[in-house]
């Protein structure tokens, strides 16, 4: 529905009366709200209050994406739901609640996870995004998708007792584009590493405050009323009731839209339920000890995980299985005798051993300390160091 086609029924005019009579807001702003399409990502702690207030305000189309199900422990803060909704998909429960609050708007639900495969497709139909998720992978995904699609992203997050709000990727009336999340934090923890499931908990009311502030910013972005938080980063300390707002700017080294962008596609930072793995130390053997084994004639196997060109320069006669092919060649590795794994300095062979022990349960692997360089120093100085 475009702005020109917006009509209000008598009931709607009565409902939004308190907006319409505010001099700095008025009918025009209410029309913009009805014409707007807002996607709220996550219907949990942050999503609950922002969805309630956006629906109440009369945002014409609200999309909700969440793949979670209502749990009793959610009710400490996710005020969108009640005990009757426990066990139901959150988006369905949210839709029902919001429709009963405001029957004049359209709620679209996506009972799925936002990923690099669907993000652009889903977000492109909306004008503004409100990011209510609280994990790095989705934050970066939403940020990147909004920048690639040119959509403003109203950001909110909670960390321990602190809440944060900003508006990313917003173009102001002068046509200037504001900063986005990667201007603050260019890179997340590397792919493959995500927050562990055991989180510190959250004071239930805090997302209520921050989510409501997000709804406020969405309304300001849509209507153009007031000054948005674009270019500013607001921090609220719930325990001390202290607030801080600091200025943020676009950074030329932003990998997404700085001077030399390198990120052109969405990235799925891998998710897994991080149970802390206890790192078992790997077994080591020195060059001298290996030499002694050979002199004694003990039956051993030597595996070399370097690259073929390195093998050409100098080798100890080991079986060449380059690091990247180690898992695929696990059946070439003996399980019944001492197997010494080496590389140039001891780093790649350590990695190979970790991989073989974790994936295949090997228990007879030894890392050659100092690698072939150490071997050349101590045992075979006639070989070429490189």
């Amino acid at each position: 529905m475009s702005y020109e086609d917006i009509h209000f029924s008598k009931e709607e005019l009565a409902r939004y009366d308190r907006h319409i009579i505010i001099p700095d807001f008025g009918f025009e702003a209410q029309k913009k709200l009805k014409a707007a399409k807002v996607l709220v990502i996550g219907s949990g702690g942050l999503g609950s209050p922002s969805l309630l207030y956006l629906a109440a305000a009369g945002v014409g189309t609200i999309g909700i994406i969440d793949f979670d199900v209502v749990d009793d422990s959610n009710l400490q803060r996710q005020v969108l739901f009640g005990v009757d909704e426990i066990g139901k998909p959150k988006v369905e429960a949210a839709k029902k609640r919001l429709e009963s609050l405001n029957p004049f708007i359209t709620i679209k639900v996506y009972n799925q996870q936002l990923t690099s495969q669907n993000a652009l497709d889903i977000i492109k139909d909306y004008d503004v995004v409100a990011d209510g998720t609280d994990n790095f992978p989705t934050r970066y995904l939403v940020n990147d998708a909004c920048v690639l699609l040119g959509k403003p992203n109203v950001y909110g997050s909670i960390f321990q007792f602190e809440g944060q709000v900003s508006v990313f990727n917003y173009t102001n009336k002068e046509g200037e584009l504001g900063p986005n999340y990667r201007d603050l934090y260019p890179t997340p923890p590397p792919p493959g590493l995500v927050p562990s499931c055991a989180e510190g908990g959250v004071l239930g009311v805090l997302p209520g405050i921050i989510g409501s502030l997000q709804a406020l910013e969405v309304i300001k972005v849509i209507t153009g009323v007031g000054e948005t938080m674009s270019g500013r980063f607001f921090i609220f300390d719930a325990l001390n009731f202290e607030t801080r707002t600091f200025k943020i700017k676009r950074s030329p080294s932003n990998p997404l839209n700085g001077d030399n962008p390198t990120i052109k596609h969405l990235i799925d930072y891998e998710r897994f339920c991080g149970v802390k793995a206890v790192e078992k130390p790997i077994k080591e053997i020195s060059s001298r000890e290996l030499y002694d084994l050979q002199v004694r004639g003990e039956d051993i196997q030597i595996i070399d995980v370097r690259e073929p060109h390195e093998y050409q320069i100098a080798n100890m006669g080991g079986e060449l299985i380059p690091l990247a092919t180690v898992s695929a060649s696990a059946d070439k590795i003996d399980r019944n005798k001492k197997v010494i794994v080496h590389c140039k300095m001891g780093g790649r062979s350590a990695k190979a051993i970790h991989e073989l022990e974790e994936k295949f349960g090997f228990t007879n692997l030894y890392n050659l300390k100092g690698g072939i360089l150490g071997w050349i120093d101590e045992v075979q100085p006639e070989l070429t160091k490189y």
Binding site: T187, G346, G347, K351, N367, Y386
Partner: protein, 92 residues
């Protein structure tokens, strides 16, 4: 051969070796050779674009490479390179 000094937090990724000898022409070459030989160091030293992470300082002798030629800073024999993690934080 330049010597690179590994700070305590990263030594578990270098089999507890604190000083490693590397042959290369500049800092970038040294870092590449180091992360090639000790792949587990990579995610702690480099970002996704392969550049040195902002919370890692690299010193050639006494000078921060940011005041020299950054990753292009040349390396000679006897150069000592120190990796120094930026220690920072705070309540906000």
């Amino acid at each position: 051969m330049a010597t690179i000094i590994i700070p305590t937090p990263l030594r578990k990724f270098t089999n507890n070796t604190a000083r490693i000898s590397i042959r290369a022409n500049n800092v970038k070459g040294v870092v590449n050779e180091l992360t090639f030989n000790f792949p587990d160091l990579k995610k702690h030293l480099l970002d996704e674009q392969g550049n040195i992470r902002s919370f890692v300082n690299v010193f050639v002798g006494d000078e921060d490479i940011r005041n020299l030629q950054k990753e292009q800073t040349p390396i000679k024999e006897e150069t000592v390179i120190s990796i120094v993690p930026a220690i920072a934080g705070g309540m906000a």
